[in-house]
Amino acid sequence: MPELKFDKTKCAECKAISCLVKCQYMDFKDRDRAKKEWQKVINGDNSSVLEACTTCYACEEYCPFGNHPFYMLVERQEEKGILPAPRPIIKMWINQCQPVGRFIVGKVEEKALSYCFLPQFNTLVKGKLFDGIALSVIFGQEFFCNAVYLHYAKASVIKDRLPKIVENIKSQGIKELVCLHDECYGTFTSLAPAYGIDIPFKPIHYYEYMYNRLKELKDLIKPLNIKAAYQRNCSARLCPETDHYVDDIFGLIGVERVKREYDRDNALCCAETIRMAKGPAMADDLQKKNIDDMVKFGAKYCVFNCPACYDSLAEKVAKAGIDPIHMIDLCRLALGEERGQKLHLEGMPVLRAAMEDRQYE
């Protein structure tokens, strides 16, 4: 079983304790207290951190040494039997993503797209951006990166399944894998190395792929000239080195990334995992703060990286008068194409009534 490579001495020498001090969900302004608490976690002692963690992944980004504080925390949570979410929810997640022995693949070539286990990419992956690669696809449990179990204190599931997933991808003859869900990219570039799992193919973040593709298609780009809020997602914390592509792509297609409070390393997560783990009060509060922030800074669009964040926030963002859109669709708009992902209108009576041309009393 793979083991986490974690260097205790780096934490012992650390003065910043950024993992806790910068945490947006726990109050650790006092560095001495943060240091003591973090030492408890490392030593396997009981710590309030283990219970209070919202599993936002951000401490992975905050650690200046790349020492994987979040992965360590997840290991300790599991050792102590702490359940970050209700047990049946964890059980359901473990059940639904287990490999079932059925490979769902397109005409896979050496360079392929990974849909992860997110069917939403069926509606997103269209048009010129994906010319020549759209059919070279892998999808489903057999290729699912399993990083989601970090939310559920189940590192053991990742350690069990990830080597087989990597082998499944390799067995398709894939040399370069464009990860459409950056949780996969983060898994292959951060989580797998942290556990000493070799990755025998080159992971490519889809932002990098799209940036290069947009440069090839630059003559077709019609600048959008819009202001957009960017919604960072939890797994972006596993690969913060890719964040510059947001600015690069926005620059190519004429989008201003509004300089709001909750972006970059201060981003708030979509909060849907927090809803399941900590309850609705905290989740509602976080989502409200996040969306109010988008409105305050004049965003007309909210651009999503992760389809799950879109599912969580799109309706709420739309109700605030901001157009929710996935990054792929945003790029397609700039190329004069139509967006693939349409907003579901369930639970949105005003928009739904308008769409259905019905008048309510």
């Binding site: 359940l83 059940n95 079932v100 399941m276 609705p280 799950a308 599912d311 369930e346 639970g347 009393e361």
Partner: protein
């Protein structure tokens, strides 16, 4: 018997009566597991008067009559066990009146739930009725006759509780109005403050008369309808979870699902809650009330709400649900039947254990979608099994499992819902003798010649 055929032709016209093999084959069976038996004639009346003439003819000739709606009960209730006439009510398909202020609709016997849903959405979109999770071709009358349930059953009781009046052709041929419509122009009550005579027909499966028109209560159709999904892996908690949810009086509908396929549901009980409101604030209030009611399980980590993503919602909010049809094909062969006892809610863990035990014993795939009835007074627990119609052995195993499930339900304080003829006998064997005698008297009074759907509710 050719005289009967000719007489039927005179009543309904030659296009609407048949004694041909293809019709007799089709009308001799239903989609469930009961053995087929063909009728001699199939007739499709258009009016109450035609129904009356057919019943009079049947009395004269001593020919059995089996009324049929959508034919979807699955328990053989429209199979003409003693031949005779199957009276298909589908031509009586008029929606006669919607009273917006008193919130009821009057329909003819062949009006389907799908047709009424469409009609209300188009013409009275602020009103709705209790839509069952059967296919949309299920008729409103037949569903009421079997004491069906629907999407408003958790709040309003059985769909038959929502009946607001009846027009009936008795087994002896008289046309009779039941409820307020017996003396008023309006159909607002099936009984109170009068003696409630609707019980002479509802639940009798057409063995006391033919319902030709029915008043059905309608209810506010709120602007927003939302779904919540609560999971637990402790089956013993389910009755208390239901008690807590129904105590809030905030939830429109509660369905408790348990099934091993797809694998994500294995070992987990899913509780679907539907809430409605006219504003986001109303929805949010109800959502919060449901959360607070179950907070104790969230804190103990024994249960929790799963986020319902936008792509999950259309399927979960669909009325009727398409899950039953999907489940019917899990075994690849389109077979599906269930025994659905109405039972005390505290029996849920025992019933689920039995469902799983029988599935294991008879090598069947199971599912259960249990609906809470009338604010938590009881539940409809479904012992559902899927089978391949091209596999007689699997069909036989499903039948035996369902028979055992029915026996178990009766032993565990349940009452079998829409029982087949064998189950009817099981029920009557356990019934209080004086009640049984009363049923016999009712049947003899309303159907002295024993022509109405014979074989059903026959007191020996």
């Amino acid at each position: 018997m050719s005289d009967v055929y000719e007489a039927l032709q005179k009543i309904v016209g030659e296009d609407y009566v048949s004694n041909r093999a293809e019709e007799r084959y089709f009308y001799g069976r239903d989609p469930g597991l009961m053995p087929p038996h063909e009728p001699d004639y199939v007739v499709m009346p258009k009016t109450t008067e035609e129904v009356q003439e057919i019943i009079k003819l049947a009395n004269r000739e001593k020919v059995p009559v089996t009324p049929k709606g959508g034919g979807l009960a699955l328990t053989g209730l429209v199979i003409p066990l003693k031949g005779g006439i199957v009276m298909d009510m589908k031509r009586m398909d008029m929606i006669l009146e919607v009273n917006e202020k008193s919130r009821y609709v009057i329909v003819e016997a062949g009006v389907t739930h799908g047709a009424l849903k469409s009609y209300l959405q188009k013409h009275h979109f602020h009103l709705r009725h209790s839509i069952p999770d059967s296919p949309p071709i299920a008729t409103i009358v037949a569903n009421a006759v079997i004491h069906g349930q629907g999407r408003l059953t958790q709040q309003r009781g059985f769909n038959s509780d929502m009946v607001s009046g009846l027009e009936v052709v008795l087994g002896t041929g008289e046309i009779c109005r039941i409820g307020s419509c017996a003396l008023s122009s309006q159909w607002f009550s099936k009984g109170p403050p009068l003696p409630d005579l609707s019980g002479l027909f509802l639940g009798w499966f057409g063995s006391t008369g033919v319902i030709t028109k029915l008043g059905m209560k309608l209810y506010p159709c709120k602007k927003i309808r939302e779904v919540m999904l609560f999971l637990t892996d402790k089956v013993d908690l389910v009755p208390e979870i239901i008690r807590k949810l129904t105590h809030t009086e905030m939830v429109e509908d509660i369905v408790v699902a348990a099934q091993p396929i797809p694998p994500r549901f294995e070992g987990i009980v899913s509780i679907l809650l539907f809430i409605t409101g006219d504003s986001e604030e109303e929805i949010e209030f109800k959502r919060r009330m449901a959360w607070e009611a179950l907070m104790v399980y969230f804190e103990s980590r024994d249960g929790g709400f799963v986020s319902v993503t936008p792509n999950m919602k259309p399927a979960l909010l669909a009325m009727p649900s398409k899950d039953t049809a999907k489940f019917a094909d899990v075994s690849k062969g389109g077979g599906f039947e269930y025994s659905g006892p109405i039972a005390p809610i505290d029996k849920y863990p025992a019933y689920l254990e039995k469902l799983e035990e029988l599935a294991l014993k008879y090598k069947l795939i199971y599912a259960s979608a249990t609906r809470v009835i009338d604010g938590g007074h009881s539940m409809m627990f479904s012992f559902s099994y899927t089978f391949n119609r091209a596999n007689p052995d699997e069909m036989k195993r499903a039948k035996v499992a369902l028979d055992e499930a029915a026996e178990f339900a009766l032993e565990e304080d349940g009452v079998i819902w829409k029982p087949n003829i064998n189950e009817q006998q099981m029920v009557m064997e356990r019934m209080d003798q004086n009640t049984l005698i009363l049923m016999k008297k009712v049947k003899q009074l309303l159907d002295p010649n024993g022509i109405m759907n014979p074989g059903n509710w026959e007191v020996k």
